[in-house]
């Protein structure tokens, strides 16, 4: 089995790129692959806990929690999160926060890297 690193820089609300990234993570894990998900820029929005789910806006807290329980490794860019007011005490349990070098470290031994840029 391989390792997939996904970097997603797109916003949770305003695009469905993060929805795609989470669905792809689920599909890869279903096949037995290890998945690292790095969120940076506006993508750090996914790391905030207690977001209210509306049918008109993407909401990924539930699937993200389920996938993290199965081993999905999710890390948010700490500087990107802090600059947006997403502080550690309001971060979804299980989501880690590191600097950008974490993404490159994950890419080091990834079999595939899928980078999804921001808007």
């Amino acid at each position: 089995m391989g390792k997939l690193t996904i970097g997603c820089f797109a916003s949770l609300v305003g695009s469905t790129n993060l929805d795609f990234a989470v669905k792809l993570s689920a599909a890869a894990m279903e096949k037995g692959h290890k998945v690292d998900l790095w969120v940076s820029g506006n993508g750090t929005m996914i790391s905030i806990k207690d977001q209210r789910a509306f049918k008109d806006y993407s909401s990924l807290e539930k699937p993200l929690k389920e996938l993290m329980a199965k081993g999905l490794n999710v890390t948010a860019c700490e500087a990107c999160a802090e600059s947006r007011g997403y502080h550690a005490d309001h971060t979804l349990e299980g989501v880690k926060r590191f600097s950008m070098d974490w993404y490159l470290g994950s890419a080091f031994d990834a079999d595939r890297l899928l980078h999804i840029g921001g808007e």
């Binding site: 970097g7 820089f9 940076s40 820029g41 506006n42 600097s99 950008m100 070098d101 974490w102 993404y103 490159l104 470290g105 994950s106 890419a107 080091f108 031994d109 990834a110 595939r112 890297l113 980078h115 840029g117 921001g118 808007e119």
Partner: protein
């Protein structure tokens, strides 16, 4: 000991979105990635500006004056200080009527010893083929 080569390809103009700056800050992060790796393992970062992305390289940017932000120009200069390979597509500069004199080429004030390379797209394509992974911004 192993090396993973990452190619950061910037295709979008600066300031309209965060992408070009994130490309540079992530590429610069290659200098501190060792904390996540075994001894001797490294990650390298090459940067290429193509298409509208070459506009990021214009010199004398006034980001501090206008937005109180570090300029993309200063991030390019920081990349040079860190000896990153920075390529700019010659054909795309031509398309905008720009030349080497219009863009940041070196950063002596930062103490950088390497320079931006203005190259034909064929060289950028060759660089991309040599990378393990490509990231488009």
């Amino acid at each position: 000991m192993a090396t993973t080569k990452l190619g950061f390809v910037v295709t979008r103009p600066g300031y309209k979105s965060e992408n070009p700056k994130l490309a540079l800050t992530h590429a610069i992060a290659s200098q501190s990635v060792e904390i996540y790796l075994k001894d001797g393992d490294i990650v390298t970062a090459d940067i290429a500006f193509v298409g509208d992305g070459v506009l990021n390289c214009l010199k004398d940017q006034k980001a501090v004056e206008n937005y109180d932000l570090n300029s993309t120009e200063s991030h390019i200069k920081m990349s040079l200080l860190l000896d990153l390979n920075v390529l700019v597509c010659r054909e795309d500069l031509d398309r905008f009527g720009l030349s080497e004199k219009d863009i940041v080429i070196d950063a002596p004030e930062f103490g950088a010893e390497v320079e931006v390379k203005v190259v034909p797209y064929s060289e950028i394509s060759q660089m991309m083929e040599e990378m393990n992974h490509l990231l488009f911004f």
